[in-house]
Symmetry: C2
Amino acid sequence: MMKEFLKVIHYEEAVEKLITYRPFSEIESVNIADCCNRIAAQDVCSSENLPAFHRSTVDGYAVIAEDIYGCSETSPGFLQIIGEITMGQSAAIKLQKGQCCWIPTGGMLPEGANAVIMVENTDKLDDRTILAFHPVSLYENVMQSGEDIKIGQRAIKKGTVIRPADIGLLASLGIASMEVVKPYKVGIISTGDEIVEIEQKPKAGEIRDVNSHALYAAVKSCGALPFVYPLVRDQFDDLKQAVEGAIKENHILLISGGSSVGIMDATLEVLMSFPEAQMLFHGIAIKPGKPTLAVKIGEKLVIGLPGHPVSALTNFYILIRPLLIDGPIVNSLEGYLKLNIASQAGRDDFIPAVIEERDGQKMIRPLLGKAGLMSILSQSQGYIHIPYEQQGLKAGEKVKVIIY
Amino acid sequence: MMKEFLKVIHYEEAVEKLITYRPFSEIESVNIADCCNRIAAQDVCSSENLPAFHRSTVDGYAVIAEDIYGCSETSPGFLQIIGEITMGQSAAIKLQKGQCCWIPTGGMLPEGANAVIMVENTDKLDDRTILAFHPVSLYENVMQSGEDIKIGQRAIKKGTVIRPADIGLLASLGIASMEVVKPYKVGIISTGDEIVEIEQKPKAGEIRDVNSHALYAAVKSCGALPFVYPLVRDQFDDLKQAVEGAIKENHILLISGGSSVGIMDATLEVLMSFPEAQMLFHGIAIKPGKPTLAVKIGEKLVIGLPGHPVSALTNFYILIRPLLIDGPIVNSLEGYLKLNIASQAGRDDFIPAVIEERDGQKMIRPLLGKAGLMSILSQSQGYIHIPYEQQGLKAGEKVKVIIY
C-alpha cells in the first residue's frame, strides 16, 4: 500500500498533466449550419461590407435630411414623391432637393438620399406629395454599408464556440463552410471479471456494465466521438490486445477497471508494457477516484478510471471533460450552502449537490450520506469542489456548483 | 396602420398561446446510451434491488462486527482467515464467530458477515490470522442490497432531462432502452424577393438568406429536427404551395418574411386561407419582432417571424425555444448591470448582453447602440429581458441574462 500512497499527486497537477499531454487536435471544414457548438479553428474575416448597401430599417420615405430640418407638427415640410423602392432591386431613382420616395424596411437607399423618415411621422397630402412632421438626422433609420462588418474585419475569433448567431453572421457574409476543430475520438473499455452486459441478469457477485453506457453518453455530451469496445476480463493478454487496437483508433482511451488496488496495478502493468509508454500519474489525492491513473502512449492518452460507476463518472467530469471541451463552456452556478460539509484536508473532495430556490435565492444542498450511490448522482445537478487545503464548508457559505 | 396596432398582444400572452397550442408530443423507445438530453416520457421504476447483494466498498476483511467490538491499537482483536472472496463470484464461504475473509472493493459479502474492516486497520499476523485495530459498526464499509434503489422504486421521473448519470442508473438496473419524447420536426421557410442563396453574390438591393441557416442551427441546438425548404418569392400561390407541403411534414413551421408590414400581411393572408386556420396573434408588443404572428392550422403551429435576421433569431429565442425545450434547461445567469438601459414602457424589450468578471463579480454589459447588427448578436452571450411595465434599468441593478 505504501508504494501507492507515495505516488499520489494533487488534483490540479493531474488536470495540468492531462491538458499538457492532450492529443493534437485536427481541423476539418464543415458546412456552417452544422457548426453549432463546434470550435472555430481559425479567425474568419469578411471579404465584403455588411450590409453591402445603405438599408432602411423602417417603412417610410427616403429623404435628404437637410430638406426637412426644423420641420414640425405645426410647420410640416413638403416633399415630392418621385417613386417607390422595391425590395431586392437596385434603386434606379435619384433624389433631388425637395424629393422623396417610398422605401420598405430593408430596402436599398436611393442615390441622393441620406435618411429615412418613418411613415408614422408623415401624412400623404396627395399621390405626389407628403407632409413631414419631424426632422431626421443624417442616416437616421438607415443601416449604413459596412456598419455591421467592414471588409477585412474579423467576424469570428479562433477558439470561439460557434452558436446560431455566428452562423447567421457567416451566412450574411456568404461564407458557406468554415474550419473547425475535429472532435476527439474516445475509446471506452470496461474491464473486470465481475462485469456482465446490461441485458444479462447478473449472477450472485456479478454486476452489469454501467460504465460503457454512462461514459459513452458523457463523451458524446461533450461533443466528442465515443467508441465502446467489448468487455475485457482481468487478463494481461486480453487487456493488452484490446488496448493495442483501441489506441490505434482513438485519440484518448478510457479504461474503467475494478476499484481494487490490485486491478488498477494490473491495468498499469499492461499500459507500461507498450514501448512508448510514459506514466503521467498513478493515484490522485481526490475523493472519489483516488486510484485513477494516466499513461501517455505515443501521441495517445490512456486514462484508467475506477470501476465503480459513481467514481468513474465523477472522475470523467473532473478530469476528462476539461480535456474534451474548453473551460468556459462548462456551466457553473453560485448559491448558499444549506448544510455543513466535512472534508479531510490533504485531498480534493467532489460532492454531488442539488440547486434549490428559496425566496429568490439559490440554495445548494449537498447530497451527503453514503458515497457511491448511483441514484444520488442521478438526482444531483452538479458537484461542489472542496480544494486540497480546506477542511470543509460551513452552511451559509457561498459555494459554486459545477453543472454536470 | 391602426388596424395592426389594435391587434398587438403582450409578450407573456404570446408565449402562453404558443405553449397552449403546442403540437402533441409523440413518444419513442430509444437505447439508453442515446437518451442523453432527451426527455423521459414516463416514470421508470426498478424491477430489482440495486445493488443486488451486499457489496464491500473497500479492500479489507469481511467480519462479524460483534467479534471486534471494543478492540483498539493496544488491544487488537484476533480473527481467523478462512478464505478470500473473488470478484464476480458468489461467496461460497460462510463466516462463523471469530472468522474473517479477504474481500476486495465491490466483492460480495459472504454469509454470516455483517461489516468490512479496511485493510489499513488490520495487520496480518500469519497466513491464517489478522489483528483488527479498530471496531466496525454494523454494515460499515458495506453497501447493502437495495440501498441504491429498491424493487419498485422510481429511478427516473417522467419529464426528466436524461443525463449520463441517469443512463448509468438505468444500465445498473438492466434497462437497455426507455421511452422518451420524440423531438419536434420544425420546417423553416425563408421568403422575400430580395433574398438569394448564401453562395450567390447579391446584386444591389439583394441580401443573402441568413435565416434558413441560423434557424436551422438554432432549432437543432434545442434538440429538435430542422428541415429547410427552398426560398419562396413573395407570391401568394408559391407561398401557399410551400406551406401546404411543409405543414404536412412538420409539427411546427417557421416562416421568416420581410419585416415590412405589407409582407407580414401577405403571409397572414396565405395562412388564413387554409380551412382549419385559427389566428393566435398578429403583432406582439416587443422589440425586436413586433410584427411576429402565429396561426394554428389543424394540429400544426405556424409562426411568422420578421425577415431581419437579428429579429428573427431573437424571436426564436424568446418565443420558439420555450416550445422546443422546457424552461429549466434554458440557462440564465445573474450579474450587475454596467450601463443604464432606456426602454419604453408598454412593450417588452430584449437587449443583447455580454457577461464580464470584475473582482470576482459578474457584470452585465448591454450591447446598446444600433439594433439589428448581426455582429452584435454574435458577440453577445445572452439577452436581458425588460418587462412591459418597466421604463428601463439603472446601472448597478442586479439583472438576469438568459443565455442563447
